[in-house]
Amino acid sequence: MTTLKTSASTPVRLADENIEPSRGGFYAKARREFFGNRAAVISLIWIILVILSAIFAHVLTPYDPLQREAEVRLMGPSAEHLMGTDSLGRDILARVLYGGRLSLQVGFYSIIAATAFGVPLGLMAGYFGGRVDNIIMRIMDVILAFPGLILIIWLVALLGSNLTNVIFAIAFFSLPTYSRLVRGVALSVREMDYVMAAKSMGAGAGRILTWHIFPSVIGPLIVLVTLSISGAIVTGASLSFLGLGVPPPTPEWGSMLADGRAYLRNAWWMSVFPGFTITLLVLAANIVGDGLRDALDPRTQK
């Protein structure tokens, strides 16, 4: 644990030399700065609430998200149905709560997969350089050459639309971003004295990458992960919106919006509430991401 801390803070200390010394290490300072950022803390609490409400959806609402009630079709928001009901008489609040399960799964799993594959690729490209770097980064260039959603839509369409393929497609498209970020850090760190010292003491590549280079990646990686979770959730919802996500009747925010489009004239609540829920979650994730970036970037750290 001590190795991890010292190596992580070394490049940072260089930048901070002229600044008055303060208590604690780099991460302690970052934590203090982050928790001093009111907007970021409120956003973090909101995200935790959304996660909890998705997990405990069955406790929070008496309604079944799949239960159709013909008598209450297209009812506006009321005391019984806070967000109204949809065209099949299903409670929208219940569907929003349960829908969070899918969206959050897409967000978290795709980012975990992108990190698991992107980080080692970036570390290897940056550390070994030469041909390894060339091959890995050219493959990433090809992935990046497919514009945005098109590649993801295409992959999901070819592989079949289900949760696993949606997660795979989003993770695949995120690989270049992750490997590029990690490669950049690895490139700048590999010439540092402490890496040289480790090498001269006979440490192997695997050991150097894991214990001496990876710790420097953690800071920027946390920021990227936070900011890209919101992107992944939006992409997942976009796919469902286009009819390429998890098939109906499973509640999902994107497909709820797609359902609501036909009823814009007489049931605005069908489109407004699910969309507002996604926007608030994405907003919170972005504010937390920005807060983390300010706290973890030595140039902006106060």
């Binding site: 090809v142 050459a145 945005g148 839509i153 286009l242 004239r265 969309g275 996604i278 926007t279 994405v282």
Partner: protein, 307 residues
Amino acid sequence: MNKYILRRIAIAVPLILAIMTIVFVMLRVAVPGDPALLLAGDQATPELIEKIRESLGLNRPIWEQYLIFLRNAAMGDMGISIIHRQPVMDIIFSAFPFTVAVTFYSVTFGTALGLLVGIITAIKRGTWIDNLLMVVIVFFYSIPTFWLGIMLILIFAVGLRILPVQGATTWQHFVLPVATLSVGQATLIARLTRSSMIEILNADFIRTARSKGLPSRKIILVHALKNSLIPIITVVGLSVGGLLGGAVITESIFGLPGVGRLAIEAIGNRDYPMIQATVLMVAITFIFVNLIVDLIYAFVDPRIHYS
């Protein structure tokens, strides 16, 4: 300069080739079933299917099929749409202008607005104007395209009834799609312009300009903005990819007959030649835009020549 341009073009060629290879392999590997069977329809006789197989070259070895695919694609022949029963390229070319127009106007308006907001927030850094605009930017940055589009329809078409909901017959039909995509573009550019401007405004040469007594409007517009533009141009080029991809969503919301809607329709119909061609066309357009952006970049930043 010429050498740089040639080298940049030389990088684009293998990239396009790689994309074409991936599109070919993915379609051959991932697609279940025989394309000839799909094209022939349900009531086809075995003779007809055999004829289609032959005309598509499906009875030849895979590497030969690959070469034929490359040759045909180079000549602009991407096969025949299973649904429309017309050459896919003809259909794509009639849809392309809609997508290009919406993308072009969104890039232009979005970038202009983003630059303006970015400059204001950078100059007024730390004041209430900056704080307020930053909140607005983060909010709009977080709205997913598809919800923004729906909300704009709800407000301007259903509520106020001043703009049409769907279609592409008059210029009014393009206002909401362009607005939807411009918002995302503007927030992206505004964030970037702000940080880039703040960095440049602290640079030594700005201090020199100020100490020479140059008017601050001139310092901001000439010295600072010109230098901040360099990273912004690159991002504008890359953002075209996002907008082309975003076209899939806006075109489906606003009922525009563009390439994005063709792609979605083709996916729904399992029209594989069409899927293949739309993916390829959008990817190649994206590569070309970035090629042009890189050339502009070399023009704006003289340092590029020496690297």
